[in-house]
C-alpha cells in the first residue's frame, strides 16, 4: 500500500512538472525572468531548471502552483502532496 502511494506521488509530481513546463512554454521567447539573487533566465533555461528540479526550477513550480491554487482550479491537497520538497 505504501509503495503504491509512493508511486502515485511520483506520478503526481511528474504531472505537476509537466503542467508547469506546459505553462512556461506559453511565454513568448523574448521574455526573460529576473529571479532574485539568482539572475535572469530565458524561458528555455527555466524549463530546463524545472526538469532538473534545481532551486530555480522549484521556485518556478512554487510560483505557478501558488497561482493555480489561487484560481481553485486544482485541489489544493493534491497539489501539496505532489509538490517537490524545497
Amino acid at each position: 500500500m505504501e509503495e503504491k502511494n509512493e508511486a502515485q506521488a511520483i506520478s503526481d509530481s511528474e504531472d505537476i512538472i509537466n503542467l508547469v513546463i506546459a505553462r512556461l512554454k506559453t511565454i513568448p521567447s523574448n521574455v526573460e525572468l529576473s529571479v532574485g539573487n539568482e539572475g535572469s533566465f530565458s524561458i528555455d533555461e527555466l524549463i530546463e531548471s524545472v526538469r532538473k528540479q534545481d532551486d530555480i526550477g522549484k521556485k518556478m513550480i512554487e510560483v505557478q502552483l501558488a497561482y493555480l491554487r489561487s484560481l481553485g482550479k486544482l485541489p489544493t491537497q493534491e497539489l501539496q502532496n505532489a509538490a517537490p520538497a524545497n
Binding site: 505553462r23 506559453t26 511565454i27 513568448p28 523574448n30 521574455v31 526573460e32 525572468l33 529576473s34 529571479v35 532574485g36 539573487n37 539568482e38 539572475g39 535572469s40 530565458s42 521556485k59 510560483v63 505557478q64 501558488a66 497561482y67 489561487s70
Partner: protein, 205 residues
C-alpha cells in the same frame, strides 16, 4: 522630508531597478522632497552608513539583491545586514526592494526602532523583454510588476504611512491582476508573477 535611495547597477535585475527607482527620484523632486541618491559606485556600505548616521533621513529605499538577513549594493557588496547597520534606521521608514529581506532583516530593523518596514519574504521576480534592455522604462513586460512595487515609494514620498503605502501597492497589484485576467488581455503569463510578488510583500509597523 529627506529621502535616501540606493541604486546599484551591475546586472540585469539591478539595471532595471536602477531606472525604475530613478522615477521615484523624479516623483520626489515633484513633491519637493530632498533626495540623497546613492547610485552605482556610491551604493556602498561605508557611504550608506555614513549618510544614515549624519543626515536626518526620513525614508530609506534600498534597491538591489538581498537575502533573509542582508541587502547588497554595487557589485553585490553587503551594505546592510542583521547586526550591522540596522540601528541606524531608528525612527525611519524603510522600503527594501530586494529578495527575502522581510523575513529576518525587516524584523530586526523594526526591533531597532524603525517607524515602519516594507519588503518581501520571497524572491522578487519580474519579467523583461530582451529587446527592451536598453530602454527599461519602456519595457511593457516589466512595467506591470515594477509599477506596483514603485507604488510603495510613490506613496511614501507623498507622506503616506507605511500601512497606506503597502495598501496602495497591493491595490495596484489587484488592479493589474484584474486587467491581465480579462479574456481580451494578452501577456496573461504575468498573472502568476504579479500574484507572487503581491503575496510576498510584507509591511511591519
Amino acid at each position: 522630508m529627506l529621502l535616501l535611495l540606493t541604486r546599484p547597477r551591475y546586472d540585469t535585475p539591478t539595471h532595471y531597478l536602477f531606472y525604475w527607482a530613478g522615477l521615484l527620484i523624479d516623483e520626489a523632486k515633484k513633491n519637493s522632497v530632498k533626495v540623497i541618491d546613492l547610485d552605482r559606485n556610491k551604493a556602498k556600505k561605508k557611504k550608506l552608513h555614513s549618510y544614515l548616521a549624519k543626515q536626518p533621513v526620513d525614508v530609506v529605499i534600498l534597491n538591489g539583491h538581498g537575502n533573509q538577513e542582508a541587502v547588497a549594493g554595487e557589485d553585490n557588496e553587503i551594505i546592510l545586514s542583521a547586526g550591522d547597520g540596522t540601528n541606524l534606521l531608528k525612527n525611519k521608514i524603510i522600503f527594501v526592494r530586494a529578495c527575502d529581506a522581510g523575513t529576518i532583516l525587516g524584523k530586526e530593523i523594526m526591533q531597532q526602532g524603525a517607524r515602519g518596514f516594507i519588503g518581501y519574504v520571497q524572491p522578487f521576480i519580474f519579467p523583461s523583454d530582451k529587446d527592451s534592455f536598453s530602454k527599461p522604462l519602456e519595457d511593457e513586460l516589466a512595467a506591470p510588476v515594477l509599477e506596483c512595487s514603485n507604488q510603495v515609494g510613490t506613496s511614501l514620498i507623498k507622506g503616506k504611512s507605511v500601512a497606506e503605502a503597502h495598501k496602495d501597492s497591493l491595490d495596484k497589484y489587484t488592479k493589474a491582476i484584474d486587467k491581465y485576467s480579462s479574456s481580451e488581455a494578452t501577456n496573461s503569463f504575468l498573472l502568476p508573477i504579479l500574484l507572487w510578488n503581491m503575496t510576498s510583500q510584507v509591511c511591519y509597523q
